[in-house]
Structure formats: structure tokens, C-alpha cells
Amino acid sequence: MVRLYFEDVNVGCEIPKLVKKPTITQLVRWAGATQDPARIHYDKDRSQEVKLPGPIVHGLLKCQWLIQMLTLWIGDDGDVKKVSCNYRGMDLPGDNIRCTGRVSKKYVEDGQGCLECELWLGNEREERTVVGVGTVVLPRKSDGQSE
């Protein structure tokens, strides 16, 4: 993996996209892995009862995909510091989901090279069903040298 340094990245840089196509099986796995029993994510009848178009993808799973996009981008030498997500719309099993991000701020804080990124996720019907912000720290080329 190519090591990504703070100096390599500027405001406006795009984060490599991450694509997902969830299945009901994946949602059941997620429900199990997070001990979330809410039936609206895997039970058609229950979803219709509460007026949803069908089982919907968990918000937290979508947030986790945005985190995955960040960690894939920054690699094992970078750190994710913060991620927030607002859920604006629904994503359904079978949707082609695209996770996207772009660097919006670059700054140094406590000697650490920080990048704030706009994040969003959407499907073929709606461009942004999740809108978020993520902050990551990347190693600096000057790290380990005396300043």
C-alpha cells in the first residue's frame, strides 16, 4: 500500500469512492453483529406496517461504509478521529450505493496533520441519503525528525 502523507493531500482532493450493493443477507449479518433486533431492516411485513417501502439499510452500517472508505484511503498509518452522519433518505437492498468524499479543510493541530472531509452516500434514486463529515490525521513527512 502506498503511504499517504499529509503533505500529499490538499483541499478539494477526492477520496477514492467505495461501492456497495447490500443484500438482505448482509443486513441480517449486520443486525447480528451489532445486536440490533429492529425488524424494519429484514422483515418486509414489519417495514410495511410502519409505512416503509421495504426493509431499509441500517444507518449505522452506511456510516460504517463511510468509515471504511476513509480507512482504505488513509491506510494503516492514518487515524480516523471523528465521523458524523446525518441520515436523509433510505437505501434498500439491491441498491447501487456509492460512498464519496472530498477534503474540505487542511490544518495542523497539536502537531498533527488533520484533514476535514465532506462525506456523502447515495444510490441511483437519490444522490445523498447520508451527508457527513469526517476528520482524519495523516502522518507528516517531518514526523520523527526533530523540529
Binding site: K20, Q26, R29, W30, G32, A33, T34, Q35, D36, P37, A38, R39, I40, V50, I56, H58, G59, L60, L61, C63, Q64, W65, I67, Q68, T71, L72, D76, D77, D79, V80, K81, K82, V83, S84, C85, N86, Y87
Partner: protein
């Protein structure tokens, strides 16, 4: 659920705003991390391959940011979304009502802050707090927005992470 019953339950929770409950204490399992990354479909070897992870700056397997283990209550089959109900159960005659409200809640937002990596075998303490409860008129009628906070600490009392969640019910 009828409106009066729902109102009663929500008022009960409103009295608990700001209250920090006794922490839940649990150990993070390697298998739990494995099931989590399988569900996400995240194949970063740092999360499951000990030999690979040893050569990184972590020196061993860590959980992906976003995973803090499973701080479950003692009520089998009832999980994270319902924790607040379980934790309040000792004060509440309304647990079944809680389950009903939380079960059809949708997630409004998530906010994570990460301070320390989570490793298999870590013993974590989760502190829960109700931050806010707002009632609003929305497009779909009356809605209630709950804001919860979970603070995760390790055995030496260092902050590991924070998760703030809003859940919306109609």
C-alpha cells in the same frame, strides 16, 4: 401503541435526561470483531490477520473505528437500540412499551469520536446518558427525537470513544 401511553413513557424518560447510569462492563472479543467486519465487508487484514497486524504500528489486531464491542444488557435478544430501555428498566414499569417505541425508531444521526484503538481482550466500560428529547411537528405528523450518548472508557479510565445517536419515532 396509543398516544397517551406513548406520552407517559416519553415523559418517564424525560426525567432521566442528563443522568449518567452505572456503566456496562464487557470484554471485546475477537469473534465479535470478525463478525462485524464480515457484515461490513471490510477485508482490511489489520482487523483479523495477527501476523500482518503485528508488523503495523498497532503491533496486533485492532477493531475498525466504529466498533466498541457489544455492551449488551442482560435481557437476551435485546440490543443496542433498546439499551436505554433496558438500563431504565429498574426504574420503569414500561419496558415493553419502550421496546415497542424503539423498535420502530429510525436513526437520525450518528456522531463518533475516536481516542484510542479498540483491541480484542480490552475490557471496556460504557456509560449511557440521555442528552435530549424533543417533540416536533414533522411532515409525517408528530415526531419525537431522542439524543443518546455512549461514552466508552478502558480499565485505566482513559477515554476510548464517544457515540452520539439520535433516534426518531413517529
Amino acid at each position: 401503541m396509543d398516544k397517551d401511553k406513548k406520552k407517559e413513557i416519553i415523559n418517564e424518560l424525560k426525567k432521566k435526561i442528563g443522568l449518567i447510569l452505572e456503566p456496562m462492563i464487557y470484554e471485546v472479543g475477537r469473534g465479535e470483531i470478525r463478525r462485524f467486519i464480515e457484515a461490513v465487508e471490510d477485508d482490511n487484514r489489520l482487523y483479523f490477520d495477527e501476523e500482518y497486524a503485528r508488523k503495523t504500528r498497532y503491533g496486533g489486531i485492532v477493531a475498525p473505528p466504529g466498533f466498541f464491542g457489544l455492551p449488551l444488557g442482560e435481557v437476551p435478544g435485546i440490543g443496542i437500540h433498546l439499551d436505554m430501555g433496558i438500563l431504565l428498566a429498574p426504574f420503569s414499569k414500561n419496558l415493553p412499551g419502550w421496546v415497542d417505541i424503539m423498535e420502530s425508531a429510525v436513526n437520525g444521526s450518528t456522531e463518533f469520536e475516536f481516542f484510542k484503538p479498540v483491541r480484542p481482550g480490552d475490557v471496556l466500560l460504557t456509560y449511557y446518558r440521555v442528552i435530549d428529547i424533543k417533540e416536533k411537528e414533522g411532515k409525517l405528523g408528530q415526531m419525537v427525537i431522542f439524543t443518546f450518548e455512549q461514552t466508552f472508557k478502558d480499565k485505566i479510565n482513559c477515554l476510548v470513544g464517544i457515540l452520539r445517536t439520535t433516534l426518531i419515532t413517529y
